[in-house]
Amino acid sequence: MYRLIFIGVCMFGLLTGCGSSPDTVRAAVKPVSTRKVAAPFTLKDADGKPLVLADYKGKVVLLNFWATWCGPCKIEIPWFIEFEKTYRDKGFAVIGVSMDDDGWAVVKPYMAKAGINYRMTIGDEQTAMKYGGVDSLPTSYMIDREGRVAAVHIGLVSKEDYVKDIEELLRAAK
C-alpha cells in the first residue's frame, strides 16, 4: 500500500513537472579558479574573414548565440551595440553567433537594419555542441581576458547584469 502511495507521489511530481516553463539562468561571474577555457572555434564573419576566438585573448568577450527568429534576442542587441561603443577601447568585444538556418541571407539584412557594429558569424552544429548544444536562445558567454568562461546567461537577462559582468571582468588585471 505504502509502495503504491510512494509511486503515486512520484508520478504526480513528474506530471506536475510538465507544467513548469523553462526559466532564465543568470550565472554570476565565477571565481577564476573554477573557470574553464572557452571552446576554440574559427568561423567566417560577415566580410568572409576568419573569426578566430583565440585571437581575442587579452580581451573580455561577450559571445552571444542568437537568431533573427528569436524575439528576446532582439531586446539585447541594442545593448550589445552600446557595449561595443562604450567598452571597445577598454579591451572588450562582442561576438554574435547567429543560429539561423538561412544564414547570411537573413542575418546580413537584419544586421543592417539593427545597426549591428560588432563582429558576426553564422554558427554551425559543431560550434553549438562545443558550447553545450545551445538549446535555447539567447545564450551568452562572458569570456575573460585569458579566454576562460567566466559566466553564462541563458535566456534574457537584464542589461545591468551584463554591465556588472563586463566591468568586473575588465577590472581584472591584464
Partner: protein, 149 residues
Amino acid sequence: MRLSNLIFLLPMLLAAQNELLTVSAQPVIGKKAEPFVAILNVQLKPGLHANTNKPNDELLIPLKLTIDKGGFDVVKVDYPAGKNEKYSFSDQPLNVYSGAFQIGVTLKAQPGTAAGLAMAGGKLRYQACSETMCFPPKTVDVRIAVDLR
C-alpha cells in the same frame, strides 16, 4: 499495476516532460473517394507560445503541418486563428498560439490506397518561445489512424 510496469513508464513520462509541444490525433473514418477531416489536438507547454501559420513577421518561423505518408493527399489544412500578442521586441503584435488548440486537416485517400485501417503520417514544424527565451525550430511526428471504407 505492478511496480515493474510503472518503472517502464518512467522514461516515457520523462520524455513527455521534455517536449515543448505534443500532438495527438483522433482516429477518423474516411470514405475512399471523398475528402474527410481529421482533428489534431496540440498542446504547448505552459509558459510558451508558438508562432501561428501566419505570424505577422517574415523572420518568424510559422507552424506548418505536412502529411506525406500512408497514401493520403492533403486537401487543406485549417489552422486556428491565433491570438495577437504585443511583445517588447516587436513593433507589431505577433500572432501566436498558447495552451491547447486544434488543427483540422482535410485528407483524401490516393487512388491506390487500400480500404481498411491505415495510418496517415507527417510532421508538425513549430518554433516556440517563452517571454525570455526561444527554442530552435522543431518537428514532431504526426500520426492519424484512418479507418478507410
